[in-house]
């Protein structure tokens, strides 16, 4: 299956990727009582939206469930078939941005409905980790957040800010949207960490700057900065 030849609509601009880790809840100073309400499903994830005002109107990729943060999310990137099964209706009927995946079985399930509502990037052969430069292709990287970095590249972003790329536990939590049934272990985390050194190497060669907006992240191959530094830098 051929991949989407994504036009460079973000040429030269900044892109913000919201990953699954919970560190950005603190970065954006979201009160604990609000977080607790979301964790027990008393409030939807979109209740966080007002606290994320800095990102409104910017080029934002939400990884997996982050698309539910608000209509200001431009792109939802995902690759997990089971996640898609669970969120399919909401993703199609409530999210109006671009939906991108690199999982072919998801495409097979959506193609047969007659119209394409999800864009597909084919995994580049022989390049498991890193950033694929080939049109319509991506390095799968084994996790949705890293896939989103490749999507940002194809859309033309030159500066990429990573939120929630934690790869550790923040106050005992691994994900901002709640925990998975199987708890995160060091083995899982180490598997997810593998791709980032190659992404950093490719980004340097491609002239892309990637910043990790979590000083406590276990991903150490990108410069770490605080949210205040991002705001100062991008508001110049």
């Amino acid at each position: 299956m051929k991949g989407w030849r994504a036009p460079n609509i973000w040429r030269g601009s900044a892109c913000y990727i919201i990953g699954g880790g919970p560190s950005w809840l603190q970065q954006f100073k979201i009160p604990k009582q609000v977080i607790d309400k979301v964790r027990v499903n008393k409030e939807p994830i979109s209740i966080y939206s007002p606290y994320l005002e800095f990102l409104h109107g910017k080029h934002v990729i939400g990884v997996n469930g982050a698309f539910q943060l608000g209509s200001w999310i431009s792109v939802c990137a995902f690759m997990d078939l089971l996640w898609f099964e669970e969120h399919e209706a909401k993703l199609l009927k409530e999210f109006s941005g671009l939906r991108v995946t690199t999982n072919e079985p998801i495409m097979e399930k959506t193609y047969i409905r007659g119209k394409k509502h999800i864009q597909y990037f084919a995994p580049e052969r022989n390049k498991i980790h890193g950033i694929s430069e080939l049109e319509g292709q991506c390095a799968q990287n084994g996790n949705s957040g890293a896939f989103a970095i490749n999507v940002a590249y194809h859309l033309g972003a030159k500066r990429i800010y990573l939120f929630g790329f934690d790869m550790n536990l923040t106050n005992g939590a691994s994900h901002f949207h709640g925990e998975y049934t199987d708890p995160w272990t060091d083995t899982i985390i180490n598997t997810h960490l593998r791709c980032f050194p190659e992404i950093a190497r490719d980004a340097k060669q491609l002239g892309i700057q990637i910043f990790n907006v979590n000083p406590d992240s276990q991903i150490t191959c990108f410069p770490k900065i605080t949210l205040d530094e991002v705001i100062r830098s991008e508001e110049k």
Binding site: K2, W4, R5, A6, P7, I9, W10, R11, G12, S13, G57, H59, S71, W72, I73, S74, L81, L82, E85, A89, L92, K93, E94, F95, S96, G97, L98, P105, E108, K109, Y111, I112, R113, G114, K115, K116, H117, Q119, G156
Partner: protein
């Protein structure tokens, strides 16, 4: 005299397996349900679909995707899309749109959010929308 059954020679076994495979292909290819998607089961063993069909490894079959367990979808190769009743009506699904600006240029909008960094010429905006629906 009691008849004894000898084990098939390797060559015979290969022929037999091929005949079984061919028969399987012919029987399932001929299934008169052209409106359903055609799949190949690329996993091992035998799989039972939710509608009761038993599917052998490597065989082709016709089925609505709803009868295939999600857990086994990775082991299915879609051969022909067929015609499946859409799960959602088109007007229920949100998609990005091309919107003309006051200055005559165009934006690609997802709801109220403008996706493009800079306003687009009509041709570029059309190309973007076209890229979303092309193969």
């Amino acid at each position: 005299m009691a008849r004894t059954r000898r084990a098939p020679l390797e060559e015979e076994e290969v022929k037999l397996n091929k005949a079984v495979e061919d028969a399987k292909e012919i029987v399932q290819e001929a299934t008169p349900v052209p409106s359903l998607p055609k799949w190949q089961f690329i996993g091992g063993g035998t799989l039972q679909l939710k509608d009761g069909q038993l599917i052998d490894s490597g065989s082709f079959f016709f089925a609505d995707p709803s009868v295939i367990s999600t857990a086994f979808m990775d082991l299915m190769r879609l051969i022909e899309p067929g015609e499946v009743k859409p799960k959602y009506e088109d007007n229920e699904i949100l998609d990005v749109q091309m919107v003309k600006r006051e200055d005559g240029l165009f934006d690609i909008q997802a709801g109220d959010t403008v996706l493009n960094e800079a306003p687009l010429q009509e041709g570029d905006a059309n190309n973007f929308i076209a890229s979303l629906t092309s193969e």
